[in-house]
Symmetry: C2
């Protein structure tokens, strides 16, 4: 009987669920709206039911051996989701235990950005790299750091919050309550703030002026830039300038072989990568110049976290008995 | 016969040399002026002669089994000192090989801040810690990062240059050719620049105004502050504010259990630690608050790097045959 692992990527909007074999083939996937479940137990029920449906879909006889979960503010050591601002469940949620009780199978949990990082390391462009950083530019900014071939988790399991390093000490107010965090500039939300600032400051013509606010997104800004809208182009230049600086600083910590950029905003391609790489190199300490690659992730957004989450299961098969 | 390791700490001004036993007892030490040897071969001869003299001094029969070297811009992987701005020898110096050839013994080299970090980890206040950061506030700012109980060296051996993270993108010009590096604010040199700036900006009375420039040092600034000189006190507040912010950012990378402050400026005690810790806590992402200790190193400046350098010998005894 084919053994499969469940990979679950809990996002603020959607939760992606997949079945993955030991070789990293994603055999079946499903998605449910996270916000539709204000009660976390109902959420766990729904995800578990989806996993069972997927098992039937696979067609051949197969067995689920465990689940791996990637979640915002996930704590690998404790299997908990703690005070996640973008989720409806407040406080400390013992997510891994809830899945173990429901499925009677071992469940492992990690921060969502770490799960994607592990996915990239095992199945993506970081294969064989011992030192790299992955940065996720989505609604917020997440990151995973690998040193000596190991995930950096820190003493409390919360390492790798590059989105909350302060790049401008008196800068933009951040959702975390502080000012000038990288996330306020280089996330999808950050780019929108940059556009609004630029539109307010100048009278330059821009198609984005006529857009109702709810239509303004990193996608519409990208489309405008590709059509030559100068305000949109400059917003990407601003973003690349700040991201390049922040990535150069991060090299001074762990001197990675490569930095992978991942998430919605990374789809802007050259519009983002060109200014980012130029400012990255310009801001690097001379000893690091020309040595560190800045690359897009090689995995589809949807798959990286599912793959990374499921990889926890294969790595730790037999290590843990489920709660019963 | 008692086996001993040589620990050599190459500094811009002085080179400290010590004999250390396996238990971390420093049995004898000596110091020579680094700048007196424009020829690196003569430097190696002089350090080697000093080691032989120290062996005689120990009194009991003993054998030198190898030497460990801490040096600015030292590359652990290659055993080289590369483009060190504060040393007279230019380019890439194969320092470990030079010592091996001269002493016919294995020689190991590391960055000076890393050597001090290893000293703290094995013999100092970081014993038993798997995740910590050590930051050296001297003429410049050095640092060593430990993750999962291992030194972070990066893919090229140059990780851990926190002194060259940019804290103010349009800030002070740094010796490295960029602007706003942490080192330009929180080193001994940085505090002097802060004083000069403050004296130029205000007309506040200060005993430091009458001091000839060559007498202005972190020590005289400290003495003035202790006597209530407000300009000096405020310079330390500025320093703590910026150091606290930078250390808070570094927690978002590796989430260490503790950060150790080391080097000349750390001797300012509360004058530096109080504002540093206050601004550190204020700038931490909420999830890290109240969890990360900021502490002085538990080792004398002189000993930490010698101990850390010699520890490389014990860790790697038998691993390497000397060049012959």
């Amino acid at each position: 009987m084919k053994k499969l692992a469940g990979g679950i990527d809990i996002g603020g909007t959607n939760t992606a669920i997949g079945l993955v074999d030991r070789e990293g083939q994603v055999l079946a996937t499903h998605s449910i709206p996270t916000r539709a479940y204000p009660d976390v137990e109902e959420f766990v029920d729904s995800v578990s039911a989806a996993l069972c449906n997927l098992l039937e879909k696979v067609g051949e006889p197969c067995e689920l051996v465990g689940v791996g979960i990637g979640a915002p503010n996930g704590n690998y050591y404790r299997g908990t989701v703690e005070f996640a601002p973008n989720l409806t469940w407040k406080g400390v949620i013992p997510m891994a235990r809830l899945f173990e009780e429901r499925l009677k199978l071992p469940a492992y949990l990690d921060n969502d950005a770490n799960a994607a990082t592990v996915g990239e390391m095992i199945y993506g462009a970081a294969q064989g790299m011992r030192d790299f950083i992955m940065i996720t530019l989505g609604t917020g900014v997440g990151s995973g750091i690998v040193v000596n071939g190991q995930m950096v988790r820190g003493h409390d399991g919360f390492a790798g919050e590059l989105g909350h390093t302060i790049v401008f000490p008196e800068g933009r107010t951040c959702g975390c309550g502080r000012k000038g965090c990288l996330e306020t500039y280089v996330s999808a939300t950050g780019v929108k703030r940059t556009i609004v600032e630029r539109l307010a400051k100048s009278t330059d013509p821009s198609t984005l002026r006529d857009l109702p606010p709810e239509k303004l997104s990193s996608k519409t800004i990208y489309d405008a830039a590709m059509k030559g809208d100068q305000v949109a182009v400059e917003a990407f230049l601003d973003t690349g300038r700040i991201l390049g600086l922040a990535l150069a600083n991060s090299v001074a910590y762990t001197s990675p072989e490569a930095i992978f950029i991942f998430g919605g905003l990374a789809k802007a391609g050259d519009l983002l990568f060109e200014p980012t790489i130029a400012h990255f190199e310009a801001n690097l300490l001379p000893v690091y110049r020309g040595k560190v690659k800045v690359l897009p992730s090689a995995l589809p957004d949807f798959e990286a976290a599912i793959l990374g989450a499921s990889a926890m299961v294969w790595r730790r098969v037999g290590e843990k008995e489920p709660a019963s």
